[in-house]
Amino acid sequence: MTVPGNEAELLARVVTGDRHAFELVMRNHEDRVFSVCLRILGDRERALDATQDTFLTVFRKARQFEGRSAVGTWIYRIAVNTCYDQLRRMQRRPTERLPEHVDPPDPVAEQEIESAGLRPEIVAALAGLSPEFRNAVILSDLEGLSLPEVADVLGVPVGTVKSRLFRGRRLLARRLGNQTTS
């Protein structure tokens, strides 16, 4: 894992057109970006598209990174907003998905995807939350970001993150049936 200071240097090299530096930045963050996108969007294809769009934005806008936060936080913020955009587009213009397997399915790949996927009950529970609560819960309780990091990614004060976490978990608890108060 690259230390944050070096990451900022890497990003500065990206601005000069250094492809190798960009690939290093991407490799450092692609797993978490994909994980965040998959948890927000609940669909592997869309998550991969969003991951791709996120890194294209990182490359194209590297110059605009101002160093106020860690490079990772900046990238996750782009990822979350890219997912928001996808969700909005999906709401405005629901598209008919192509069949999942046009090619003959590869059993090994299928098994790999299944074991690397999301638990359906978690997808269903998270899907019932509004985006504000869902993203706070995903970033904090699933991705393990600290409260200030979540606040930075979502662009809201820490107090708002706390409130969204509490309410989001409360709604999840109710859905899971282990809520003991209303």
Binding site: A62, G67, I78, S130, F166
Partner: protein, 258 residues
């Protein structure tokens, strides 16, 4: 301190949540609260249950095939591109200007000390100091963490769309441009003497409020203009008259006025 459900307060909720996820700065106080308040204890257990359930979830990973496809697609897309050559953002340009002023002022000071330029002693030094302060102020954000309330510029339309707006007591959720007079409508809602306990909230609206995390709230007004909002307030008249705007059909809070 805002009264909330069943005798708990907003800060209690924060304490309970923090104790449940291990981020409580004052754990003794939080524990004491949970041990002495049955409702708080139940909330705490519920929060812990959800956190444990989520923690049990494996982290999704890309398969090697997906990873290779991603790398191929990104490489291909940027093959003939260079990172944006757009002008540097305003804060950087301001920094350059300030640095330029600093150099000019410093040079003037040197020339003055050398007797090349006239003027009272100290004037040039004062100018140089001011220039340095401006340069620091303009460029000082670099390398420091932004306060949570500040929004560093983030690339892309999406990032701009979700920049938070509003004052400390008023939270605008991100995607909502402030063209709509939320604060004014909120004041009207508070001033209209609506008896909250008599508000007639339909089942659909109530479900929408619950989705937005606003259980124990009622709809006091519906707005259907360019966008549609439910205007919601706590159903308990004893609670602070916080006004929430919930976008429909998305059922998300877009503005909160305290």
């Amino acid at each position: 301190m805002r009264p909330s459900n069943q005798g708990m307060h907003e800060h209690d909720l924060d304490l309970i949540a923090a104790l449940a996820d291990g981020s409580a700065s004052d754990e003794a106080t939080a524990r004491s609260l949970v041990e002495t308040c049955p409702v708080c204890h139940a909330e705490y257990e519920a929060q812990r249950g959800v956190i444990a359930w989520l923690a049990d979830s494996p982290t999704p990973v890309m398969t090697e095939m997906e990873r290779a496809g991603l790398h191929r697609a990104v490489r291909s897309a940027i093959e003939n591109e260079t990172p944006s050559t757009a002008p540097a953002p305003w804060w950087q340009r301001l920094g350059y200007v300030a640095a330029g002023l600093l150099v000019v002022a410093g040079l003037a000071g040197v020339l003055q000390n050398a007797g090349v330029l006239g003027g009272a002693d100290g004037v040039s030094q004062s100018t140089a100091t001011t220039g340095a302060a401006e340069a620091e102020a303009a460029g000082g954000a670099e390398g420091t963490e932004a306060p949570a309330e500040e929004v560093p510029f983030v690339a892309g339309d999406a990032a701009e769309d979700f920049a938070p707006q509003g004052a400390t007591t008023t939270t605008a959720a991100a995607s909502q441009p402030l063209a709509f007079p939320f604060a004014q409508v909120a004041d009207e809602a508070r001033a209209s003497q609506i008896q909250r306990e008599e508000a007639d909230t339909s089942e659909d609206d109530r479900e929408c409020l619950v989705r937005a995390g606003l259980d124990h709230h009622v709809v006091v007004r519906e707005i259907d203009e360019d966008a549609s909002y439910l205007v919601a307030m706590p159903e308990d008249p004893a609670e602070d008259p916080v006004v929430f705007f919930v976008e429909v059909p998305g059922c998300r809070i877009v503005f909160e006025d305290r």
